[in-house]
Symmetry: C2
Subunit: 366 residues, 2 copies
DNA sequence: AGCGTCCGCGCAACCGATTGCACAAGCCAC
DNA sequence: GTGGCTTGTGCAATCGGTTGCGCGGACGCT
């Protein structure tokens, strides 16, 4: 219970107690083979006794390596982003890296500040989960081959700007939506409506996939409803429009939207799955506890976070810019898409199928 | 497109271009009033032109201030923790602090590593959301008055060890559960069962509160079911036990558990709310979209995260260790606790009531 | 005894920014 | 013309480890 000045213990203190120079102490602590056993033990003991904790700032300054990774995402409270964050953190920690987690919240200015902070701290690598800035703008602040884009969703991509060709990590959305549509069609549904925000490259891609597969089955042209990008608060509007002219099945941009629509449909005469089949995307936990359980496409978000770390570490170590990867997704058949009475009498049991592996483009399952 | 060595721009470069010394450049960039307008403008221009980004490590080393906060939590994918994290990050960012987010996952060893990393990086402040370590152990690595405990849940608290007296931030669980029980009782339910993990101080407190309020209404002794601490996978067991001898109402440790129980009850003959009322705690999003909508107690988790930052910053600035705070919670009446037919014909409309404000102990609302 | 090796360790520079103190002008007053 | 003051800058030390290079001694060999 000493009331000493309580100065931080520094390496010099350890060295003094161990009777060596700072250099030797430093080497002893990091298991440099040049240090003898006796000396090493003495230094270790001294460090332990003094409760020495090395200063990361000093180390990083000299080593030009911070052992810090950054993750920029929209919202930590979002289930999908939370899973990515969890996987990212776990993988980073297991490699001895600390993680700066920043939220951009779709705000350009906030995002820029976050990128600046990451640059100032000289993060060894940065993963960007859906950022609103132009990629070119990002690379102006961060070294190009230390950045990975995770599930990028370019709001509008400024004229002339191109999405980065490398260092992109995404799930097989195309394969996933194709599988979902195939499933719907196979179960006998014909009149399908797609509901999405109406903006962003991810929405465009998903919509296009749905459209394409429907066309292939001569069920086009696609019918769709835009619910706007402002969260899914407008689900009530969507529900009304659906009630006004009900399709047989609805495919949503993601689970969050699907669950909101499901909720918004309650006051209407439409019941899922009695009058309407419903499909989501992402496989977030509430989708598996909803009533009815949602048919959805499981995106391995945690794994996505982990992979992002692996990609970053690999490119840090080798200096080689990360290649792009696409991770497979899995269709999870729930209770919201039962076989349509008038058609195929397929068994109502859970079915699973995987989309292609790490191929560049999503392959629609059969 | 120059293929130059691409050396990082340092302050010296800026100073050279601006024709000043490093000292002046440094001061000019941080708006030191001693620097003249002309010089300042020159330095600014040089920095901008060169794309200078100060090195946080160097700055921290000298300043002995890192502008880094740490947040240790169980699982980023958990809705409650995600909200705390979101609030924490947002508040930190608004004050110009970066956040190291670490997950402990209830693993002692992992948690220790996380604390060590935070200590090495000399985080200016650290918030611990439910950590498993002994507080004494934490304070051995981190300066005592730079730590805040958020919703602490001591697994078993080693003999002799005491929970920290200051720097504790928690929601008014007592008030919340009391309100929930009052609500249940008021609606006519008599036979109430509490379901919780069966371990941890938080569970003990909640159980005790339920018990106490029931006693007050002469409805004791409390009946309860332990579902174990291993997540809520054992909800099925709980459902079976409930089905075997159904109470009139069930109060759960939290929403996640309540939703699992709700889900697990589906195969049984028990329907919520027809045969059984159900109450959760936390107010996570899925609880408001479930079917039936869950009656729950809303914990302002985002606000909790924000407050944690405020507490830390205050104690960093003033050097005064943070006091403890209790934030109020709010009962949200959903559809899972309708008035019991045989009793009070209370209106089925949404009701809201707040518990006491920042008082030390939760006040049960009347 | 003389010489070449190898091992273990210390000196001092270095990473990049901040800051106490001193110094150089410029201005006014005595 | 010199002292006193204000204003604007620069020198150099400092934060706390890391690391290239060199040195001294022990050891083996001829």
């Amino acid at each position: 219970m000493r009331r000493a000045p309580e100065r931080r213990v520094v390496l010099a203190d350890v060295a003094r107690l161990a009777g060596t120079s700072e250099a030797t102490a430093s080497r002893a602590l990091k298991d440099d083979p040049r240090i003898g056993e006796t000396t090493r033990a003495a230094v270790r003991a001294a460090a332990l006794k003094l409760g020495y904790v090395p200063n990361a700032a000093a180390r990083s300054l000299r080593a030009r390596r911070t052992h810090i990774l950054g993750l920029l995402l929209d919202d930590l409270a979002d289930p999908v982003h939370g899973k990515v964050a969890a996987g990212f953190e776990e993988a980073a920690a297991s490699h001895g890296f600390a993680v700066f987690m920043m939220t951009g919240l779709h705000d350009q200015e906030r995002e820029e500040r976050a990128l600046t902070v990451l640059a100032e701290h000289r993060a060894d690598g940065v993963a960007l989960a859906s950022c609103v800035s132009d990629p070119t703008d990002v690379f102006r602040r961060l070294p190009k081959d230390r950045v990975v884009f995770v599930q990028p969703d370019y709001p509008a991509l400024a004229d002339g700007a191109e999405p980065p060709a490398r260092g992109v990590l995404r799930s097989d959305d195309t394969g996933g939506f194709a599988a979902a549509v195939e499933h719907i069609v196979e179960r006998g549904y014909r009149r399908v409506t797609y509901v999405g925000p109406g903006t962003g490259s991810a929405d465009a891609l998903r919509r296009a996939t749905v459209s394409e597969v429907l066309d292939r089955h001569h069920l086009g042209p696609i019918r769709s409803i835009d619910c706007g990008p402002n969260g899914w608060r407008d689900a009530r509007d969507v529900a009304e429009r659906l009630a006004a002219d009900p399709p047989e099945a609805v495919i949503c941009y993601d689970d969050k939207l699907a669950l909101s629509v499901l909720d918004a449909l309650r006051p209407t005469r439409l019941d899922v799955p009695r009058d309407l089949a419903l499909v989501g995307f992402d496989g977030i936990p509430p989708a598996r506890q909803s009533r009815p359980r949602l048919t959805t496409v499981d995106v391995p978000s945690v794994e996505l976070g982990r992979r992002a770390v692996e990609m970053l570490l690999a490119s840090i170590k080798d200096g080689i810019p990360a290649a792009s990867e696409v991770v497979p997704v899995e269709l999870i058949v729930g209770e919201s898409t039962p076989p349509l009475a008038r058609s195929t009498p397929a068994a109502p049991r859970r079915e699973r199928q995987r989309t292609a592996a790490v191929a560049g483009r999503g392959t629609s399952p059969r």
